[in-house]
Amino acid sequence: MSARILIIDDEVQIRRFLGISLRAQDYIVSEAATGQAGLAALATGGADAVVLDLGLPDLDGRDVLRDLRTWSSVPVIVLSVRAQEGEKVALLDAGANDYLTKPFGVQELAARIRVLLRGGRDADDAEPLELGALRIDTVRRSVLRNGEPVALTRKEWALLALLLRHRGRVLTQSQLLRELWGPTHTADTHYLRILVAKLRAKLGDDAANPRYIATEPGVGLRLLDA
């Protein structure tokens, strides 16, 4: 059965091209032009994923997200304009699952939606995962690189597992820092940088041309979903 996608955006042109391109990929698309209408549509009709624009005429995108999160865990992808890194991070920390910067390409959006729709099912995937030259077994906590075992420290493994659980999605620095070192270390960005550099070295990844772990400047990290 096709997944249902709800688009909440006040600009008719954006709704139109999103609708056309998503329907072309066999999604069932519903549209709402305001935050209130969007929340109502989600409450009555439901959806498998929501595309939420930040600049709505009636409600602030953040308010819509907060309201929505009190009663729904539907994956939300937020659309924002550039020069709003702080805003993006705040929304991701407030429960958005991913973001796209306007203007964006439809293929990019489609890829993000695919990741979000798959999202939940990956988490309890018992099967070892093949990723490039890596074979990661989350149950036995082992990583093989080209068949050779890679020895990871506890924090390195924790970081990898966290990224893996949100494969293809961005994780903000503060989310990562909180998960790995606790809420008192959310400003110690150098912890994360040093740990990522070590993990990349062990996985044979290159920061300048990453195959596995990509940096989104000012936002966070994303495990590339090859």
Partner: protein, 523 residues
């Protein structure tokens, strides 16, 4: 030491009593000596006419004291001469007519000589005072010319007034908002002196009413003497002088000096204000020029991609049925690429305004050099697909303490610039390294290079904006923003020619901060 201190210009007035006593004593002493000298001269040398001895005494006294004292000396000598040396001796009675004439002539001569000597003395004093005042004024003028701020000018003047007049000087500024006279640089006056307040207020009112500023007549021992600061119609405030010994009114000479000094201060303040106005005008003109250039650049750089987008979209809309599938795809791709170009240009404009707003404190984070170079490279590859970008990064890569989105934008602009101005099939090299306390990132292209005189100008906003039309894909502002971002981080961007080759080497350098190494233990 200033000569004025050796000879305070009006000390003889303020120290009236002691100096008068001393002068009178001196006159008496000289007269006594004259009597003794006359007696000796008469006995030993049989001098007949001793009036010359007394005349000399009177001249001697007059040359060193005031008019009254010289008259006193003349009368005293006349009496002594008469008493001791004219027949009948030891009386003031004159017997011979001859004696009467001599004595009268003596008195008249003594008074005239005394007067002349006295005038000479006061002229010497006046000359000395004038010279001291002129010197003090000259020094003040020199220091005021070098003063760069109002506070400096005021401090210089109060110090000079204090030195020369031995008075404490206070400069009060008129503060229109509170309609009060406020001591410069003191929001909360440590000293509140009602006498100062009242004297300054009165002086200010008199100045503004156009009346001559006069001290309080009839009132003795005024603590503060005030002079208006500024020029008629444009009064700035009041300068108040406080003397260690209260005076009923300012003597004319020091008053003239104080007025001249206050006038100099007013001129210096006027000059400083004029300088500030000129600077503000210049800045405003520069901003206007930039705004006009930006506006023309914006309209050009926004319109050219827009005309492609509109034209291609309309072609697709109107002639779709008559177009081959390939042509339709070409038109759609043009719309896409021109749209992206427009987006980059708008991003540049946004960054420009972000940097232009006095660059608020950057939110910095630690990020790996390889990380951020990597993201910028990937973005460049998306815009210039197929370009060969060769990275030569140090291993291990240092951590940079920067604002990641902005720094990535700076790197992207450098790379984008290199890609635009070099042949498509030539590689772009990114060489990074740590040199002492700095990190440098060189972006090297194999293009035609930048002629020496233009290497600094390519970073100039006006330059890049003004030549917008001649640039391929003229987005213009890229390098200006690149440098702006680097400078906001305490770094610098410069262009040069690569060693032993053609093309351009764009060097981004940044102070290296040592990342904290307190990573918690991790087994």
């Amino acid at each position: 030491m200033s000569p004025a201190i050796d000879n305070p210009p009006f000390a003889q007035d303020s120290q009236h009593d002691t100096s008068l006593e001393r002068e009178l004593g001196y006159a008496t002493f000289v007269s006594a000596v004259a009597v003794a000298a006359g007696a000796i001269a008469e006995r030993l040398f049989a001098f007949n006419d001793l009036s010359l001895v007394f005349m000399t005494a009177v001249v001697l006294v007059s040359a060193r004291s005031r008019m009254g004292v010289s008259v006193f000396a003349a009368v005293l000598c006349f009496l002594a001469y008469n008493f001791f040396f004219l027949e009948p001796r030891y009386t003031l009675y004159l017997s011979a007519r001859h004696g009467l004439v001599t004595v009268t002539m003596f008195l008249v001569g003594a008074l005239i000589c005394g007067r002349l000597a006295n005038r000479l003395r006061s002229q010497v004093i006046l000359l000395n005072t004038a010279r001291a005042h002129a010197e003090a004024l000259r020094q003040l003028g020199q220091r005021l010319a070098a003063a760069n701020t109002d506070a400096e000018a005021i401090a210089t003047t109060t110090a000079a007034l204090g030195d020369v007049l031995e008075a404490e000087a206070v400069v009060l500024h008129w503060h229109p908002a509170s309609a009060r006279l406020i001591e410069n640089g003191r929001d909360n006056p440590a000293r509140f002196d009602p006498a100062l307040e009242a004297a300054a207020q009165r002086c200010w009112q008199q100045a503004n009413e156009g009346a001559a500023v006069v001290g309080e007549r009839g009132e003795r021992d005024v603590a503060w003497h005030c002079l208006p600061l500024g020029a008629p119609g444009r009064w700035l405030g009041v300068v108040a002088l406080h003397f260690s010994q209260p005076l009923s009114s300012l003597p004319p000479e020091p008053a003239r000096l104080a007025e001249a000094m206050v006038r100099d201060l007013a001129q210096a303040l006027g000059r400083l204000q004029l300088g500030r106005q000129l600077e503000a005008t210049r800045l405003q003109a520069e901003t206007e020029r930039l705004r006009a250039a930006l506006l023309s650049s914006v309209s050009h750089d926004l319109r050219s991609p827009l005309s492609t987008i509109i034209g291609s979209a309309e072609s697709l809309d109107v002639y779709r049925d008559r177009l081959s599938a390939d042509d339709q795809r070409l038109l759609a791709r043009d719309i896409l690429s021109e749209g992206r170009r427009l987006d980059r240009y708008i991003q540049n404009l946004l960054d420009m305004t972000r940097l232009g707003q006095g660059a608020p404190a950057l939110e910095r984070e630690w990020i790996g050099l390889d990380d951020i170079v990597g993201t910028a490279t990937q973005r460049t590859m998306r815009v210039h697909p197929g370009r060969d970008i060769v990275l030569e990064l140090p291993a291990p890569a240092p951590l940079l303490h920067v604002n990641p989105p902005l720094f990535e934008q700076a790197l992207f602009n450098a790379l984008d610039n290199a890609a635009k101005f070099s042949p498509d099939d030539s590689p772009i090299r990114v060489r990074a390294g740590v040199e002492g306390e700095r990190v440098r990132i060189d972006v090297v292209d194999a293009g035609p290079g930048i002629p020496e005189p233009e290497r600094e100008q390519v970073f100039d906003m006006f330059h890049s904006v003004a030549r917008g039309d001649r640039r391929p894909n003229g987005t213009g502002l890229g390098l200006t923003i690149c440098r702006g971002i680097l400078r906001a981080h305490g770094g610098e961007a410069t262009a040069s020619a690569p060693i032993g080759g053609r093309g351009t080497e764009l060097r981004l350098s940044l102070p290296l901060e040592q990342a904290p190494s307190d990573l918690p233990r991790d087994e």
